[in-house]
Amino acid sequence: MSGKAAVGALGVVLLAVLIFLAISSWSRQSSAADAKPSVQPINFPHSVHVGTYKMDCQYCHSEARRSEYAGLPSVERCMGCHKIAAADKPEIKKLAAYHADKKPIPWVRVNKLPEFTYFPHKAHIRANLKCQTCHGAVETMTTFGATTGPRVTNDLLYLVGLKPGGPPLSMGWCIECHREQNAAGKQAPLDCVTCHH
């Protein structure tokens, strides 16, 4: 019967459209990319630089104290040490190749906040925050990686009454710290538009 066929066809169309709605909706949910330990163009061990040689974070990420961004060291700065230090290692040879070609190193981004979030490193360095507070125990990481940003599972845990705490670099996690700082007499803003504008 044509009617039954029509109803069947309708079912298929509806299903397709619902799937489309679901997918297109989900794809618009702007969540921060959760980067797993990443494959970097050069295997850079933070553990050696920070852990073994006790280098200051801001020696390389020198923009942190004056800019919104922490910044990455220029290839020139890397080469400042690595012209001599460990120059024979294969990874350092890769670095030297970038330097010789005058090309920037295409590092893969690990820590990323959504576009609608304004996070100034400067203000946090001014407040004497340690880098590790947000970025984890960098001195132990051979490959830098982080799982950041909000996760659905986290909200689900809250929904069933658990309080797992915000995952790093998620809003709940920022807020927790800001509230603690305010309770300790510091001035950490809690105004929405300070970070979302």
């Binding site: 039954k4 169309v13 909706s25 909200d155 929904l159 709940g172």
Partner: protein, 447 residues
């Protein structure tokens, strides 16, 4: 439609048979209707998908009419959703026995209308994929909805209304499903057994059931009145001239009942005709419904007069300008259509013959539905089009997207309703039995 079939009173077994007959495999006419529904729904979902993909601009909204036909249709369906629970709860408490033959259909209509209405806030939201932000759920950001917003009141009112109406509906259905279970075989029987929860009609079950039903009715009664009041506050709490009025709550509730009864008639009259239910849905039922439509229509007319009067008497320049614009300018046709359909058309029901004529009732009901849709349209679109700020005054033009979605919502409603009448008893077996004299060996006596 003759009254001949109503002369001899049916027996309990007749009731079971007649009601279960409505669940027989449907005919061609039914499938023809389903095809229409399918078309409407396809348009509905495609338009919606387009709107999600390309943006809300696909719908004809603009500044200043940031709300338009979606909210119009939302309020329309919420209004429709009032008759069911009103009939089943308020009339139950008032022991109006004529409700019994229509209340199941009305309740189903209520739930489906509210479900249809419930789609519109989603359709209407610019980012419907974040619509869950409106729900108070615990989250790591410790963000909660703003309980000062009438939209959050809506969320609570409508979800409560849908829940309670559904519960009420299901509770009413349980004994009927048990009857269905006992009259069916095979897989249907298994499904009905599960749905019937093992209902047997024992005295213990009945006594708790009756008490619970009464309590639910008394909870649902204020709920019915509150829901449309809350919906009306979406407007009354806003500043827009033509919205900001304390009149709105009773005005909306009355309008909702008015349109709800019209919709009940629109659905029940064909049912009566096609299923041959003249024995149960009798002329006296139609008469009662007609009277209710008449009364609510007159009350509505009173509210219209009040609205105009307050606007004129206030001496408020902007209010008056808004009213004057509505009555005489671009959208005047919509306003006068509304006045005709809601104030003039029902007056024919003063005449008893009209109240018992299915044809007249049907026509009046359709007109009332049109009028009530336009009432919401007139509240939203022209009021916003000529509000405080002359710079942004403007005219709203519906786009193919809005139109497809509004028409598609009727298809969505019909899909649910047509599905329901073939899956569930659309007359309450139990309550219909209550209205016919119980079987007595000594012969019937006064009940």
């Amino acid at each position: 439609m003759s009254d001949s079939r109503t002369t001899s009173s049916p027996t309990f077994a007749d009731v079971n048979r007649d009601v279960l007959r409505t669940l027989n495999p449907p005919g061609n006419l039914y499938f023809a209707w389903m095809c229409v529904v399918a078309l409407g729904l396809a348009g509905f979902f495609l338009a919606w998908a387009g709107q999600v993909w390309w943006g809300m601009g696909m719908a004809g909204k603009r500044v200043p009419q940031m709300w338009a036909m979606y909210i119009t249709t939302f309020v329309f369906w919420i209004g429709i959703g009032h008759a069911g629970t009103l009939i089943s709860a308020i009339l139950y408490l008032f022991r109006a026995r004529w409700r019994t033959s229509i209340y199941r259909a009305a309740e189903a209509m209520t739930i489906f209308a509210v479900m249809t209405a419930g789609l519109f806030p989603l359709i209407h939201a610019g980012r419907m994929w974040f619509a869950y932000y409106l729900l108070p759920y615990p989250n790591q950001r410790t963000l909660w909805p703003n309980f000062r917003s009438p939209l959050v009141w809506d969320v609570f009112a409508i979800s409560t209304y849908l829940s309670i109406s559904t519960v009420f509906f299901i509770v009413g259905l349980v004994p009927d499903i048990a009857a269905l279970r006992d009259a069916s075989t095979g897989w249907r029987r298994r499904i009905f057994s599960m749905l019937a929860l093992g209902w047997e009609g024992s005295d213990t079950q009945w006594r708790h059931y009756r008490r619970a039903y009464g309590l639910l009715a008394s909870l649902a009664t204020p709920l019915v009145l509150s829901v449309h009041s809350v919906v009306s506050w979406d407007f009354a709490m806003a500043l827009v001239p033509g919205w900001h009025s304390t009149l709105f709550a009773p005005f909306f509730v009355d309008g909702a009942i008015f349109s709800g009864f019209a919709m009940v008639l629109v659905l029940v009259l064909p049912m009566r005709h096609f299923f041959g239910l003249h024995a149960y849905i009798q002329d006296k039922h139609l008469d009662a419904m007609g009277k209710l439509i008449l009364v609510t229509g007159l009350v509505l007319t009173y509210f219209y007069i009040c609205e105009i009067f307050t606007s004129l008497y206030s001496g408020e320049h902007i209010e008056k300008a808004s009213l004057f614009w509505k009555v005489t300018q671009t959208y005047a046709w919509a306003l006068w259509t509304m006045y005709f359909c809601n104030c003039v058309a029902p007056l024919i029901l003063f005449w008893r013959k009209a109240r018992t004529s299915p044809f007249v009732l049907y026509v009046v009901s359709i007109l009332v539905l049109i009028g009530m849709w336009f009432e919401r349209f007139n509240i939203i679109v022209p009021s916003l089009g000529h509000d405080f700020y002359p710079y942004t005054w403007g005219i709203y033009y519906p786009s193919p997207t809005d139109t497809a979605i509004v028409l598609g919502s009727f298809a969505f409603f019909l899909l649910l309703f047509l599905g329901f009448i073939k899956l569930m008893p659309s007359l309450s077996i139990v309550e219909v039995k209550e209205t016919i004299p119980p079987p007595m060996r000594e012969g019937p006596h006064a009940h």
